[in-house]
């Protein structure tokens, strides 16, 4: 089953940056997503979704998947990430 690794980045607190003590990660199975969310994720990886310019202090998400060609990762603003992926991450302190 294809798995997606999700990491939340940025925000006012600078999540996930170099040296940051706050990390926010999660994982979901593609088959656990609704058909609409699966399409949304596929469109993100295929660069079919218009990406708005970054907004101050908004979160970004790094989404990683394994394909036959290897690991593929994208980094996109919160606006375009389906809630099911956004809600999969958990904030923790390191």
């Amino acid at each position: 089953m294809e798995r997606l690794q999700i990491e939340r980045l940025g925000g006012l607190a600078g999540f996930g940056g170099p040296g940051s003590r706050i990390k926010s990660k999660g994982e979901v199975g593609m088959s656990d997503l609704s058909a609409a969310d699966q399409r949304a994720v596929a469109d993100l990886f295929d660069n079919k979704t218009p990406i708005p310019p970054p907004k101050p202090d908004a979160f970004r998400y790094r989404i990683t998947r394994q394909t036959a060609q290897g690991t593929q990762a994208i980094e996109v603003p919160e606006d375009v990430v389906p809630p099911a992926l956004r809600n999969s991450v958990k904030d923790t302190l390191e």
Binding site: G14, S20, P56, D57, D91
Partner: protein, 350 residues
Amino acid sequence: MCTCFIVPRDILTKLSQDPRLPPDIRKAAADTARVAQEIRDLRIQALRLTSIATMIQAPVTAIAAAPAITVFDCGHTQSLPGRPISGPQAGDDSAKRAFDETTQVAKFYKDVFGRNSIDNAGMTMMSSIHYGNRFNNAMWNGTQMLYGDGDNAIFVDFTLGNDVIGHELTHGVTQHSLQLEYTDDAGGLNESLSDCFGSMFRQWEKGQDAAAADWLIGSDIIGPSARDRNITCLRDMADPAGAHCLAPQPTQYSQITPGMDPHYSSGPPNLAFYTACKTLGGKSWEKIGQVWYRVMTTFGPSPRMKIPEFANRTRQVAGQMFGGTPDVGDAIEQGWSAVGLSRSEGAAIA
């Protein structure tokens, strides 16, 4: 009402046409898709208005009234703007703080810098509170402020930080002045200006001089589990690399790399501002803050500005404003020297 950035419009349209969904859900999706398009159009108009307003700033400012302060309650959803709140007396502490501190930020900009609201033309200052479920963030979305409640572990309610409120509103001021992009050097400057003016606002409210100020960013929104790990702030302008920071930053301009998150590349300009204020002494907003504000607001849009260019402009403006008081220029030079951007180092980079 949903915003366009929560669910893509094509998905909303598909949901509105899905026969498996109940009619009320399909109608809500259709309504939201229509509203989403309107908001998208509104944003485009807002960007155009920003450019035009910047060009004709003086006449607009002269006729503009003082800004209205509005607060909305998202009710722990991500639907914007949420339910309108009548006023600070409504019985919600977050709402009261959002009203009161936003009013104070407007007064700070008016009294200290002569600025009329975010756009210097009396723009309504709009906030939405209780945004999302235990949402660990606050932000300026291009037209308004959003504040989460925090998870009560790592963070508490983001309206508890007066510097946070000053920080977010300053992103709006930057949008209506330098119009800095949010990547690379320009992104770091964008973040730094919000930290500088957020910290100055906090000091101004407390009547503190540079020696008495703590120079911490976000110290009032750090939650109990973070405090248990000796984390006392998001960032420390006096000690950007400190272990007590949730996100320690670089201290030298040479450490900034392309693509670095703006909350990291803001470390050196934050330290330069702190060092200048501390070296000069007195209240940060009276002289060094005035130089920073002039650089932010009098040169016109500079979306890709580099940090060394900003540094040179502070030197230039300090000479114009305080030419008879060389201490100001000397303090600013010490500030930039502390982060590897002395006059000679900056010239070598350019």
